[in-house]
């Protein structure tokens, strides 16, 4: 298989009239999804030739997914972005890509202050109505090779510029195979999608749906605000499989709703994106003992997931949950600082090799070279190796245990944030002379230390910051100081700030 869209080709033939994807407004059967994809592809190919990336800027919906299909049918990588992305960030992403197309709604297009240089705009509503051109699309697909990019997902960059992780078709094709086999997904699987489409956890939902003809139900965005209502939604929609970030599972467990609302239809609970505490997992396991639970691990750079652990024994609340062993066709190595392999039990940097690795950060060779290296322990040929920046060790039983980060990247609600990005944004605010952002892991707070003479209110400041950075990166606590403390060589004394304001509280 050269392109992941071939999964839809096969499944649309097998189950043309089964529901593929559904949201609160629309639903597509597999044959309708194929047709919609072909329409979008025709619109894209009519608008421009070539294989430049296609930014998809829409609310998370069945239609957005049809646009991904359209980009694949046109033989072009898609770039999913959030509906509420700040315009500045959208422009930064477009500038990094260079040139291409942007699919969006008429409303979004009108709201843009000026055209986006290098990008033509294709309206989603028009594209879905375009006459499908099957043979032209299949000809475009036939030119794709499995190491071409299928999508580019933008993650937080420490200098304030988002990084575009390009993933090859091969990574997704392998991943869908592995996920469906390992967790026995089939055409009776009903997935309840939580993950944003600009976050790679959504690839499990989307591509296992395409692979085996499962049904994908997009949970209305607003319900994530009300975790106590999620079990009700699962029951009413017959969802039997979920792949959510731990933050949501934790909120459901903490709310006490699991004691009240039973979910007999739910059979599989998978999670990834951040550490899952056993305290809340134990609440799930006690109330829903027949469910299969699995902890998956992987950064965006390796096609969603590279290690997994099926929960197979009791854990104490305070135990760490292993991230398990490498998935099929993946190799996980733990390296010391001098690049030699760490011994069992010894903490080092978790490094991954395999054909699912990122092709690199789009248009950014320097930052790519820092993390995508040649495995120093393989000398006879070049084996690409991705340095995750995650610290981990191998336990006696061969399972990997995650320890923490080696840099200032954090995970909040499963989303990856470089504190430097929030810091860069804060420094652009007029009333702030200097700024430093730290993470309070115990309280799950992004703390902004602002050097200012004014009495700034966090809520008002965030209204400004949300024009520059996504809402999920905005600080949740603000400390105003007349002057930030400095180290002897003039840098902001982060250690002192942490000691004084975070650890003392």
């Amino acid at each position: 298989m050269n392109s992941a869209i071939m999964m839809l080709e096969k499944t649309a033939e097998r189950f043309p009239n089964r529901c593929a994807v559904r949201d609160e407004n629309d639903s597509f059967t597999f044959s309708k999804l194929r047709e919609a994809g072909l329409s979008v592809a025709a619109a894209l190919m009519r608008d421009a030739e070539g294989n430049s990336p296609v930014i998809v800027w829409l609310p998370k919906s069945a239609k957005m997914l049809a646009c991904f299909m359209g980009a694949m049918y046109a033989g072009r990588p898609y770039v999913p972005v959030a509906e509420d992305i700040p315009e500045k960030r959208l422009r930064d992403i477009a500038a990094n890509i260079g040139a291409g197309q942007l699919i969006t709604s008429g409303g979004n297009a009108k709201a843009l202050k000026k055209p986006i240089e290098g990008f033509s705009i294709v309206l989603c509503e028009d594209a879905l109505e375009a006459e499908p051109k099957e043979s032209a699309a299949l000809a475009a697909v036939s030119k794709v090779i499995d190491c071409d990019p299928i999508y580019i997902m933008y993650t937080s960059g420490s200098t304030g510029v988002p990084k575009g992780v390009a993933i090859p078709h091969r990574g997704i094709i392998d991943y869908a195979d592995w996920v469906c086999e390992t967790f026995q997904f089939d055409d009776n699987t009903v997935l309840g999608n939580q993950s944003a489409f600009f976050f790679d956890n959504s690839t499990l939902d989307i591509f296992s749906m395409l692979k085996v003809g499962a049904q994908l139900i997009i949970i209305p965005e607003v319900l994530h605000r009300y975790p106590t209502k999620l079990p009700e939604f699962i029951c009413e929609n017959g969802i039997n499989t979920i792949f959510w970030v731990p933050t949501v599972l934790i909120a459901v467990a903490n709310s006490g709703v699991l004691e009240k609302t039973k979910m007999p239809c739910l059979k599989k609970v998978l999670f990834c994106g951040e550490a899952m505490p056993n305290r809340q997992l134990n609440i799930w396991r006690k109330n829903c003992p027949d469910i299969l639970y699995a902890n998956l691990y992987g950064p965006t750079e390796i096609t969603d997931v590279c290690t997994y652990y099926i929960v197979d024994r009791p854990f104490k609340d305070s135990d760490p949950l292993p991230i398990g062993k490498a998935c099929r066709n993946m190799r996980a190595t733990i390296l010391r600082e001098d690049n030699t392999p760490a011994a069992v039990g010894e903490t080092g940097e978790l490094c991954i090799s395999g054909s699912a690795l990122t092709l690199g950060y789009w248009n950014s060779p320097e930052i790519t070279d820092r993390v995508l290296i040649t495995n120093p322990n393989v000398t006879a040929y070049r084996e690409p190796l991705y340095r995750t920046g995650d610290l981990a060790y191998m336990a006696e039983d061969g399972n990997i245990i995650y320890v923490g980060r080696s840099d200032s990247q954090i995970k909040l609600k499963g989303l990856r944030i470089e504190l430097g990005e929030a810091e860069t944004a804060a420094k652009t605010v007029d009333s702030i002379k200097n700024a430093c952002v730290l993470f309070d892991a115990d309280r799950q707070d992004i703390v902004l230390f602002a050097e200012t003479d004014e009495d700034i209110k966090l809520r008002r400041l965030n209204l400004e910051l949300k024009k520059l950075i996504p809402a999920y990166m905005a600080p949740t606590r603000l400390v105003c100081l007349k002057e930030l403390p400095k180290t002897p060589n003039g840098k902001i004394d982060r250690v002192l700030l942490k000691k004084t304001f975070i650890e003392q509280n």
Binding site: E24, R225, Y226, P227, T228, K229, E236, R459
Partner: protein, 83 residues
């Protein structure tokens, strides 16, 4: 301001520590976009409504009706009470 709006306005300003003379804080402001209520707060408001008026807000209500402003929340409450 209707009676329902007044009850919600007072509850939200007390519980989420909002100055009731904050010019941004009105019955029509989007409580979430403007940062008055965080994600945990949304559930607290629903729990308050369910207990105070002894009604149930279902997942369907939350999906079908926008409940981002005090006026919108009051509409849902009033329609439940009237039914």
């Amino acid at each position: 301001m209707t009676e329902t709006e007044r009850v919600l306005f007072n509850y939200i300003s007390e519980n989420f520590d909002i100055d009731s003379d904050d010019p941004d804080f009105t019955v029509d402001v989007n409580l979430f976009d403007y940062g008055f209520v965080d994600s945990l707060g949304a559930t607290e408001i629903v729990v308050f409504i369910e207990e105070h008026w002894n009604i149930e807000i279902t997942q369907k209500d939350l999906t079908l009706y926008p409940m981002n402003t005090i006026a919108e929340i009051a509409d849902v409450v009033d329609s439940k009470l009237g039914a």
